[in-house]
Symmetry: C2
Subunit: 309 residues, 2 copies
């Protein structure tokens, strides 16, 4: 149970998700058992809807993520990752401390062998209604071309198997279409990507003008410094427009509540990180996204592709 | 006369600007004299409204900018920069080849002594109605911290004297508020900026969420790789929303036609670069922006501040 509005929002989101997931899926809740059960009872939700693993500690946003992960062994995040690492659950999602979620991803679940740097990605809306994927969105802020190259692979596999896009078009975020455009990092990365031996469907550079058009690409690769700004800019425009009374389904796609969470890609199990300020709707979508990733058997598919190299 | 719709759009824009500029200002047109005069006559605009300097060549978008600048000495851009360098005009603006405009800025007008890298900036709208300034937006894609530091000075002076913002707040575009956030470039730049000895009003980092809120900053500093993507993303959202029938004054501020053009900062005379696809409204605003920069005596003010160091 993580997030600024935990456990209330988390439990309410889980109740909504339970009604939407497949019959063969089951949601396991990690958190303060008494509080969780009180909310379930209040909502007339049978306790048997969920497995509940009681935890007693909370990793605060002000805690040092790495220290808290080990010093608070009874927090929902630490216990959850323990279950995930042991295979007692198939995927894990939380709107708690992003830092602690990454610590768990890197040290409990661990990167897939051969993955240089796992990454966090995000769905972005396009005018066609079909989502695109952008990565990295804040984890690795200084990326070597080889790392961005691998992001292209990770994003491509996710887009194909979780988003259901056949032969996803992968582009490099840049300031011009031509291959000689961009900073040193972009130029070197373009060279690498252009010679990818069919590992992914590279369509070249994409400019900021085409991020949401779906005309160029399904998967957009950039470093976490750029991706984080792009994502936050989009989100802020959603909020500004909303406040101004503009209702628009395309803009709604920039709402983190709809998006659900950011999948961590390149590790040995499905992990999805929600926003700290996640509402019940956001939690619900985060859980559904995790279920989808599990059912797509993404981890095995990533392992296969990465170890082909 | 430059731009995809030249000379038609350029002349129409100049006619509109002529009606709006100060009585002590005069617009000089560089271009195909016959064509310009034909449009003026058709529009019942007295030929005496403008000075016309006839030019016979055109730098095409497909031309190599540096080569074309010297090999087409009779192009409007080359002739215009000649006039500017000789002080025959006080500022120069064109929607022609951006590359050739930069060649003219760097080699005919030249950087102000002490400026490491001149920059191109852009106004961005905020929800308050007051514009912010972002720089660089595409010229220098790999920036040392020292260069970004100078951008803070250039942007601050422009915001104060051209935009009329007292003690403009300068922020570094980053992925978190805390000083230790960001990539290697951002961290080193933050350190430098935080110790600026009162050269500008540094308010710390700004995230993508705050670009348009005006809550944090008036001047936003980033390298040209980031700035270009941010700007194009904003523009594309304006166009997408417009196509979807959303009319909104805030979004209109992301329309390049309203913005006018990108001022080149850090060179020895006012130069404004318009979009290649500039319409008459864009040309008009580009000219008015140039007039404003001239009247603010920006170049002298920049020289004073830069040479203080």
């Amino acid at each position: 149970m993580g997030g600024d509005f935990a456990p209330e929002a988390a439990v309410m989101g889980a109740i909504a998700a339970a009604a939407a997931i497949g019959e063969d899926s089951r949601i396991v809740l990690f958190g303060a058992k008494d509080q969780i059960e009180a909310i379930l009872e209040r909502e007339n939700c049978p306790l048997s809807t969920f497995d509940i693993v009681p935890t007693t500690e909370v990793i605060e946003m002000s805690d040092h993520p790495a220290k808290a992960f080990t010093q608070k062994p009874n927090s929902s995040i630490t216990v959850g990752f323990g279950y995930l690492a042991k295979g007692l659950i198939d995927g894990f999602a939380s709107a708690g401390s992003t830092g602690a979620m990454m610590v768990g991803s890197m040290y409990a679940v661990k990167p897939i062998e051969g993955v240089m740097r796992p990454t966090i990605s995000s769905l972005i809306p396009t005018v066609t209604g079909r989502s695109g994927l952008i990565l990295d969105v804040g984890l690795n802020v200084d990326c070597k071309p080889e790392v961005l190259y691998q992001y292209a692979i990770l994003g491509s596999v996710y887009a194909q198997h979780v988003l259901g896009i056949e032969n996803p078009r992968v582009a490099l975020l840049n300031i011009g279409e031509e291959r000689e455009k961009g900073n040193a990092q972009a130029k070197a990365t373009h060279e690498l990507m252009a010679n990818n031996n069919g590992e992914f469907n590279f369509v070249g550079n994409i400019e900021g003008t085409q991020l949401f058009t779906s005309k160029i690409a399904d998967v957009i690769v950039c470093d976490g410094f750029m991706g984080n700004v792009v994502l936050k800019q989009a989100e802020s425009l959603y909020h500004i427009m909303k406040k101004m009374g503009v209702e628009n389904p395309f803009l709604d796609g920039m709402n983190y509540e709809v998006v659900g969470g950011t999948p961590v890609l390149g590790i040995n199990a499905p992990v999805v990180i929600g926003h700290g300020c996640s509402t019940p709707l956001a939690i619900k979508n985060m859980i559904l996204q995790t279920e989808k990733t599990i059912k797509a058997d993404l981890t095995e598919k990533l392992k296969k592709v990465i170890n082909k190299n």
